[in-house]
Amino acid sequence: MQWGSLAEFFAMGGYGLYVWPSFGVTALCMGGEVFAVWRRHAAAAGSRDES
Amino acid sequence: MFQTVALSGSRGERQLFSDVSVTVKPGTLLAVVGENGSGKTSFLRMLCGLLSPDGGAILWQGKDIRQLKELYSAQLTYVGHLNGIKDELTPVENLTVSASLAGDESSGAIVQKALEAVGLVRPVHRLPTRVLSQGQKRRVSLARLWLSTRPLWLLDEPFASLDAAATSYLTQRLHAHLNNGGMVVVATHQEIAIPTDSIQHLRLTR
């Protein structure tokens, strides 16, 4: 393990500003997609039940 | 009262009609008849003010419609050859928008009633108009007459592609309008079931 401290970990050797957005946006997109699909399913199935 | 005075009109190099003077009194219907291409549509568009006459004048309550402009537009409802509805909108949306643009009431209930009056059933109200059949589209267009409070109606072949049921709905509606003191001008190839004392015919020839 090459990280001395948490701060060092977040700094990513000075490239934190590039690394973390990459991972962040990836996580956001994937999480968002899962959420969107879940909502879509709930909406579709819900309206089917009432009809 | 609505009058044409020595009206004449032409399209391209053809003189379609000349010296037409008719008077439409409140409570009466003017049926414009004639062969294909005799100039019925052109005559009606002239009455709307969409086409300018070659000579003569059109008078509304004794005043020339070229002077009245928007004041005259506010008196009439025109249903043309073309339906004047948006294919992508549903019948309800189409009717709501056009009623509100005309300044008529356009609440959901009233629009719904108008659509039912022309014989369109509920599920059809919410489809895009594009998928409707020819006759159903025509009915949507005609439903505007159930919302209109204007005194003068100008209708171009309203019965085309309507079935028997729709034809009778429309005839009844025209009847009611005339009884209210309205005026109607219709271009048509069909007989209209209206008492003879409230109808007069204008025959255009080719």
């Binding site: 393990m1 970990f9 990513m12 490239y15 590039y18 990459s22 990836t26 997109c29 879509r40 | 998928v131």
Partner: protein
């Protein structure tokens, strides 16, 4: 064109698929979570800092899997589309429909993470490099397919029109790749090239591969889930046909 003996595909299959997909999703989702978790751990805590690029290289752990999935998913989507056209099979069209948004998302992610990587290494957010350009065009193709589908509200036409487009597009992808590559290299010397990546340490490759499999499992899971949405929506908007209700669908929820 329709109704010639393949009714099994047309009608019974979606009903069988719905619960089947429902049973498969948890497994793939779990696999995806596990693999991505392991990949992230190895990527951040085991793999060493790169000699030339420093820690910026760690973007590779999302960038390459995303880029790879973006192309892979396009091909899979086109295969389903082709099957749909050939067999007139609705489930195939539905698979194609379910894949497109995920593919577009990974394409976007490849572009985004790529330009995040580009700034520190090349000094620019964007250069007109061959691979970047062809990835951008791939995004356009995905978007074209999604928009074409959403502009058509007759489902039958939507299915088949977007399938034709997907197939035409899949022919275009390799052509674009080579044309763009050639265009670029002829113009200027390889001043920027991402193939010149440093030989990577074994743990780096491991992390990248694990992440790649994780993304793959994720794609399967999310595609199946979207497929279930599509099934339900089409049943509700049944331009797909007058079929019996789906009893097991409710229970599987």
């Amino acid at each position: 064109m329709s109704g010639t003996g393949i009714n099994w595909f047309k009608y019974s299959s979606p009903q069988a698929l719905y619960p089947l997909a429902g049973r498969m999703i948890p497994w793939f989702a779990a696999l995806a979570l596990g693999l991505i978790g392991v990949g992230l751990y190895v990527g951040f805590f085991v793999a060493p800092t790169d000699v030339t690029q420093g820690d910026a290289y760690r973007i590779i752990f999302v960038h390459v899997p995303a880029a790879w999935m973006s192309m892979f998913l396009y091909v899979i989507m086109a295969i389903w589309a082709g099957l749909g056209l050939g067999l007139n099979a609705r489930p195939s069209f539905m698979m194609a429909q379910a894949i497109a948004p995920t593919g577009a998302m990974f394409t976007f992610l490849a572009l985004f993470t790529g330009s995040m990587w580009g700034k520190p290494t090349w000094g620019a957010w964007w250069v007109w490099d061959a691979r970047l350009t062809s990835e951008l065009i791939l995004l356009f193709q995905y978007i074209g397919i999604i928009l074409l589908r959403s502009s058509i509200d007759d489902l039958r036409r939507a299915d088949r029109a977007s399938a034709v487009l997907a197939l035409v597009g899949v022919i275009n992808v390799p052509i674009i790749y080579f044309s763009v590559r050639w265009w670029n290299t002829l113009h200027q010397g390889a001043s920027v090239s991402i193939t010149a990546a440093p030989t990577m340490a074994g743990t780096m490759v491991t992390a990248m591969l694990v992440m790649m499999f994780g993304f793959w499992m994720y794609s399967i899971a999310v595609t199946l889930a979207r497929m279930r949405c599509v099934i339900v929506e089409r049943e509700r908007h049944p331009s797909w046909g007058k079929q019996a209700s789906m009893p097991d669908a409710v229970e599987a929820r």
